[in-house]
Amino acid sequence: MSPPSGVSRRSLLAAGGLGLGALALGGCAGGTGGVPAGEGWRRFAGTTINFVSENTAPTAAIAANLRPFTELTGIDVRIATYDITSCMQVASLDFASGAAEYHVVYADPWMMLAPLARGMADLREFLEDDSYPQPEGGLADFVPAMLEVEGRFASKGPLYTLPYDCPTLLLHYRKDLFDKYGERIADELGFDPTPGGSLTWEQYGKVGKWFNDNVDEVDYGIGLMAKQHDSLSCDYGNLLWAYGGDYFAAGQRIGLLGATDPGECTLDSPEAVAAAEMYMRLVRVAHPGSPGWDWDSSGAALRSGRIAMCANWHENAAANEQAMPGKIGYATLPRGPARSGNMFGGTGIGVNNDARGAQRGAAWLFVNWATSPAVQLANLASPVGGGTPTRQSVYRKPQVVAAEHRPSKMPNMLASQAAHQAWRPGYLGSRPKIPMWNEVLVTVYTGLSYMVAGDRTPSAAMRRIAHDVRQIVARGWHA
């Protein structure tokens, strides 16, 4: 007997099955979390491992839903989260002790992987061993640039981590205000102010000033993250690449793959100085609070209606959407004479090389599971976290594609199209992956802070930074 609607029992069962499947995949409420439960997953059942991570959205989502992994493998996972600097300290002290208190390590490619690569296991050990479950879809499923930046260091051979998250700096802007004032701005300034496309940094500054002078809905047009903090180096880095400069003569080669010896520093090149001069022009029209803001503060300023535009991590789209539903748009950052540079800040997770026995194998199973397409899909919809996938197959899933447009059940996907453009060659910007990066980073943002405070001119600041970086590089590195 057919149901009154005329829909067959077979199609009803099929629809129900699909619905349940999607529910299980999306919610990861039980079972294996959508990860194929093949052979090898339970070989370390009864083991307990520890994972040290930065307090990021993907880790929050995974921590809130570890049961599927435990049910799949019988492995118990304890997660400790810290801010990135503390996470780095914990990992380095663990490497120094050799005790492998933490078996899975969140390894920022610049701050942690480059200086501490010897502390991480080469994952080929597991990838070439058929007794271990292999990553679903293979390594080819990861976004290629992410695999290179997050997973490798100095050589195409060893693979230290699998891509885990992929925050990228994009332009976040008040789409509602651009819809309202866009034509007027174009008429008065004589160019198309729409973010993305051909908008230059020079024009971005002019649009910011126009907002300062003409718009009541926000206090200022532009916000910067110019605090003496990593954020200042990120903010400037976008302009550095846009103006054709880079940190070292080897350019993006050491940004993508990394090197133990970075070579000649080029932060006093005419391009680097031009980028610094442009940054100072932005400082003059930006919200006066900008010199005290990092990425959290500038994001908060955008969400509270104090500014109309700022560069920020694309994974903040969910928070933006919650605070200002439908009002914030995303685009690649403005262009300079050379290109648009969009700082990539993704991180991978790997296995502590000191981990031994069952815990070493269990750590690999967790790395494999946590970066699997099913878990990344579940993270996208997680109510406590989010992040964005590092797997190409996840971006192709119909529900993920649908979420790129409002109304979206996965609001981080609202920034996805701009992010995909930012990951293309010619848009992506990666800081130098060198062992002495932490000291170079502090030197760069401290020198820039002197410039922002007005204590040094852009050219004097960049000369001083380059001089100090050369000294750091000349001293070499011991880890």
């Binding site: 380095s92 120094a96 502390g119 110019a226 903090h229 300023a301 932490n438 000291e439 204590d455 880890a479």
Partner: protein, 307 residues
């Protein structure tokens, strides 16, 4: 005293001389656990610290020292940022300790005059001291934010509109003010304890001799409380030299290194750059400076207390 008496006393003298080393051995045994713990917790790390300052330290693959001679020590002479951080530390130390001393003493003197309600007032004034420094830093950051900060708003009412933590002088003033807000109550408490233990007869005698106001404070009160002031200054100076939390939370050493003190730089060198050998040099210098400052206070105030 007769000769017999003297003879009778001689064995006692001998027995005391014999017993003396026995007593030392016994007390030595009593002290041994403490000395061992002290050595483990203090002497051993100090020896390792000195060894690290003459080494390049490797962390990955196990903690190892590679002898580097005087390289780390030589670096401090060409490191401008290192000396700037010490200059900032000195200014921070002088301002915080100076302000806390003056305000703490003034509050204690005012409180001392209250016969009624002193307990309640004291409890209220002591509250900041019980807040964790990291929370003081967070509070300070919120209160000085130009968008929603109460202090920023109050300053804007008198014409100061700049972002407080975004400019060197105002950021430095702000972190000093946060430290002073938190730790003035400690000095107030210590001075109040000193005032309470003053001999009332001396005060009364001075009053009868016509001393009052500043002269009473300068010649009677201050000498009477100088020993407790010394304790307060020693505690606060040792604390201020290694102060870290508030600065890290509010300014991270910026803007333009305006608040980067030696401990902030030490932290950066050790735990961000993993340059442990060079960080050990800063650590040893902090220890030396702390001892020198403490000896200075003891010399100046200890002399006053003895007099």
């Amino acid at each position: 005293m007769t000769a017999l008496d003297v003879q009778a006393q001689e064995p006692d003298v001998e027995s005391r001389e014999v017993a003396k080393p026995r007593r030392i051995r016994f007390t030595g045994r009593l002290m041994a656990p403490g000395v061992v713990v002290l050595a483990a917790l203090s002497v051993l790390p100090t020896v390792v610290l000195v060894a690290m300052s003459f080494s390049t330290v490797s962390l990955v693959g196990g903690f190892r020292l590679h002898f580097a001679g005087g390289h780390n020590w030589a670096r401090i002479f060409s490191d401008g940022a290192f000396w700037r951080s010490w200059g900032t530390t000195a200014l921070y130390l002088v301002l915080t300790i100076g302000l806390e001393l003056v305000l703490g003493t003034a509050l204690a003197l005012a409180l001392y005059r209250f016969a009624r309600g002193r307990g309640a007032l004291l409890s209220l004034l002591l509250l900041p001291m019980f807040v964790a420094p990291v929370i003081v830093g967070l509070l300070g950051r919120f209160l000085t934010d130009s968008a929603y900060g109460l202090y920023a708003w109050l300053l804007s009412q008198i014409g100061y509109h700049a972002e407080i933590l975004a400019h060197g002088p105002s950021a430095f003033t702000a972190v000093v003010a946060m430290d002073v807000w938190e730790w003035t109550p400690l000095l107030m408490l210590i001075v109040l304890a000193g005032l309470s233990s003053m001999n009332p007869a001396v005060v009364e005698a001075a009053s009868l001799d016509g001393a009052s106001g500043w002269r009473m404070f300068r010649h009677i009160t201050l000498p009477s409380i100088s020993s407790v002031l010394l304790v307060g200054l020693l505690i606060r100076s040792m604390d201020a030299i290694r102060y870290f939390d508030i600065i890290t939370i509010t300014t991270n050493g910026g803007p333009a290194d305006a608040t980067k003190t030696a401990p902030v730089r030490l932290y950066e060198t050790a735990f961000r750059f993993f340059d442990i050998g060079y960080a050990a040099v800063t650590g040893i210098l902090m220890l030396v400076v702390t001892i020198v400052v403490a000896r200075g206070f003891i010399r100046v105030l200890g002399r006053g207390a003895d007099a």
